[in-house]
Amino acid sequence: MSSQLFIQTVANAIAASGMLALIAVGLTLAFGVMQMANLAHGHFFMAGAYTVYALYALAGWPFWWAVAAAVAVGALLGLIVERGVFRPLQGDVVSGFIATAGLMFVFEVLVGEIWGWGLSRPIPSPYMRAFRFMGAAVAFQRVLVIPFAVVSIGGLMVFMRRFRLGRALRAVAQDPEAAALQGININRMTALALAIAGAYAGLAGGLMSTIYAVTPSLGGHIILPALIVVVVGGMGSIEGVTLAALIFGFVMTFVTTLVDGVTAVMVSVTVMALVLAIRPQGLMGRVVA
């Protein structure tokens, strides 16, 4: 591996980590607050990517407006899933999990029918420039996601610790009944958690839409790495997910560059199995969930 390729791969790995963290943090938040796992979460990411495709590539909106719309679309989908699926099934973890498996089919067909099946949708890159660093060129567009991931996840950590609303979310995660006794409206908290989850996935999808092949099956491809990150990080732990996203961002990017994408997934699940065999609660999870 030449030093140029190495630097480029490191940059790609950090970008992949940022994207994985943005997706997985929402999954873990939803799990922490309502013990619900959302298999259709990868489709929120896909919805973000398609929003940018429709508004930026087709309708000619400025790129950043389209990304903002992707965030809104993700949040809206999160609210719909919370209200339509998770709330009626509250307390029934298995049913919630399987019900969102059904939603995977629903979202995929809707997107395919609206914007077409088959080939990926080309989205022109709004930024053609590249960073030059020690002889390596790192495309601006590729690493765009990094500052957003740092700011939004850092912001979420501060929000959960310092703000009343964030503390209320944590209270619901720890003990919903005790939280309700404190006058916290649980339904409003679960809606908030899912809206944040959807918004973050939509943001990741919007920012990465110019890099990824945008097809209706995108959601199904992205969900396995995201779920691996969540279980390895420790379910419900934002810090753990961030750490795991860094690990798997590097593992997946380096193995993909050196060998191929299939091997990258194979190595990732092996790492996951090793971690969970030793620490069933994940790296930073407090309880076996």
Binding site: F31, Q35, A37, G84, V85, P88, L89, D92, V93, V94, S95, F97, I98, A99, T100, A101, G102, L103, M104, F105, V106, E108, V109, L110, G112, E113, W117, G220, L224, L227, I228, V230, V231, M235, V262, T263, V265, M266, S268, V269, T270, M272, A273, L276, A277, P280, G282, V288, A289
Partner: protein, 328 residues
């Protein structure tokens, strides 16, 4: 609701059962060859769904069952093709391999719980499926394996023909259903149900939970492997795409829509949903939308599935006739 529900089917239930089996026996002599192939797939899917339900009775809603089905298919196909093992021996060996793989996937992750367990085991199973894709040398890569031997001629009957294979798979299905029914009604089956109802209480009565979960996983995996063997020696080919998450979602749809409370739920699920699947062939693009939505809506509005509705109807009918309530 009593946990112990008699060892035998009651007399009145045997009549429709015998009628159904008789109907399946005369069916191939009255329909086109294509329909025989279609009905054969029901047999395979019923074995698959019913073996999955056994694992569901210990509450392990794992997402890797179709990979075990694939392990059975690949093992049986490769043994028959490359090692020259007779097909009728290769199929049970495929089942055995699937059971072993199921145990190998589950054992290291037994300490994870809930959806941590579902995701982690699914990840490991994906490792197996991707290795079929990755290693062209024994597994054939994305195109899979072709020219898998048909079953031989036994006692003058050529099992590579449609009708004999139809009866062979019907026989295997009935045998598998018989075994699974006996397990369901045995002490072991009761222990499984106890674990899904209240694991702590079950453990306190001396049920070794990890061992029972592994046992359910091995038995279910074995029969899933048998289903894979039946499939591969009829198709004559196998590839990794047959066993991906989409197939797993359809398996979930059969089981959830049919219901898992009684033994008959998955059979109802396969019968209804696979029929709708076959009928909706012209709508191939939008078909997953309907099936995905049906599963989500059933979970929200009809949690027991079709079977749950039937049980309610029967219970009401019996109440009106002042008979003892239905056993579940």
């Amino acid at each position: 609701m009593s946990l112990h529900s008699g060892k035998r089917l009651k007399g009145w239930a045997l009549v429709p059962l015998a009628g159904g089996i008789l109907g399946l026996c005369v069916l191939p002599f009255f329909v086109r060859a294509y329909l025989i192939e279609v009905v054969m797939m029901y047999f395979i899917y019923i074995i698959l769904a019913q073996s999955y339900r056994l694992i569901v009775t210990v509450h392990d809603w794992q997402l890797y069952h179709v990979v075990l089905y694939g392990v059975g298919a690949y093992t049986s196909g490769m043994l028959a093709k490359s090692a020259g093992v007779p097909v009728f021996f290769a199929i049970p060996l495929g089942g055995l391999m699937a059971a072993l793989v199921g145990v190998a996937i589950t054992t290291p992750l037994l300490r994870t719980k809930g959806w941590g367990f579902y995701i982690a085991t699914y990840g490991l199973a994906e490792l197996i499926r991707l290795s079929w894709l990755k290693f062209r040398n024994p597994f054939g890569g994305s195109t899979g394996i072709i020219d898998i031997p048909w079953p031989p001629v036994v006692a003058g009957i050529d099992f590579s023909e449609g009708v004999p294979y139809y009866f062979f798979s019907l026989g295997v299905m009935l045998l598998v259903l018989y075994f699974l029914y006996r397990i369901e009604k045995s002490h072991l089956g009761d222990s499984f149900k106890a674990i899904s109802m209240d694991p702590d209480l079950a453990a306190s009565t001396g049920i070794h939970i990890p061992r029972h979960r592994l046992m359910a996983c091995a038995i279910g995996g074995f029969f899933a492997g048998i289903a894979g063997g039946l499939l591969v020696h009829r198709l004559g080919a196998v590839d990794p795409k047959l066993f991906n998450l989409v197939t797993m979602l359809y398996l979930l749809i059969w089981v959830v829509v049919g219901g898992t409370k009684t033994f008959w739920g998955p059979i109802i699920g396969v019968s209804v949903m696979h029929t709708l699947f076959e009928l909706s062939r012209p709508l191939i693009q939008v078909r997953p939308l309907f099936f995905g939505l049906s599963m989500t809506l059933v979970l929200i509005f009809m949690p027991g599935g079709i079977e749950g509705v039937l049980l309610k109807v029967v219970a009401r009918w019996q109440k009106r006739n002042r008979l003892p309530t239905a056993e579940t």
